[in-house]
Chain length 151, copies 2
């Protein structure tokens, strides 16, 4: 999988969308958008806060959370809960996630859309009408697969 846009292109697109929605482009939002754009590491609010603290010593958690919530409402980031904390993902295309047993990394994995046959099967057998799907795989990421010794 290759990135369609560079990180800065994506940041510009995200900022444009915020502006278009009539939202203010504060330095904090600038920084959070730039930190997140093109970052495939799925950081938590905590991690983003710590990453930005040097540049914005007075920025609060509430700002990080509220900015991430704003971005999520605008459809510019996705969020996934893995363990206790929510992680944020600038990749809003349909995809799944893999959590590495060895290093804990969260990686993006391709998703094929669920077939109508599968959706219809579930509805017929259980009555549940599927609208969306989230998958988490557990296993070993590419890097850790190469090091069989690792726990």
């Amino acid at each position: 999988m290759e990135a369609t846009h560079s990180a800065s292109e994506q940041a510009q697109a995200m900022l444009g969308q915020l502006k278009r929605a009539g939202l203010r482009l504060t330095p904090q939002r600038l920084a959070i958008v730039e930190a997140l754009a093109g970052d495939a590491s799925h950081p938590t609010a905590q991690e983003l806060f710590e990453r930005l603290r040097p540049a914005f010593p007075t920025m609060s958690f509430a700002t990080v959370y509220s900015t991430l919530d704003t971005l999520a409402v605008q459809g510019l980031v996705g969020s996934l809960r893995l363990g206790a904390a929510v992680r944020f993902d600038p990749n809003v295309a349909a995809h799944h996630h893999g959590v590495c047993d060895a290093c804990g990394a969260v990686v993006d994995l391709p998703a094929l859309p669920l077939s109508h046959v599968e959706i219809e099967d579930v509805r017929r057998t259980s009555g549940f009408a599927i609208r969306a799907e989230e998958r988490t795989y557990r296993g070993r990421c590419g890097l850790c697969s190469e090091e069989p010794g690792k726990t």
Copy 2:
């Protein structure tokens, strides 16, 4: 899908496994196992605590959590995180979960094992070696599908 065992049969099996593992059958464990066996509602620790409080006014949260953890270690219950709280599931067979957009219910849905072809495709394209899979579907449960008016 039909239950293979009645709730009390499942409770007996769970208690037998605890005993076999050399663990003590305290009244609290008895009650938690019986509350959980055959319960497909995926209760949280909070919900179990409140359900059992009338019968065990002095029982603490720590006991509920530690018992659920014990059951999980013994492989007698599964746990899934949906939103802030962890939910517990006496169904340890491979299955997926559906969360109803309308009523919030968490229902069990059948799972087909991932094919080797799919696993191999992911490994080849991304390097990630899949060991296990968790799926959450969003949509409408059977009951809520019948009431289109509901939010």
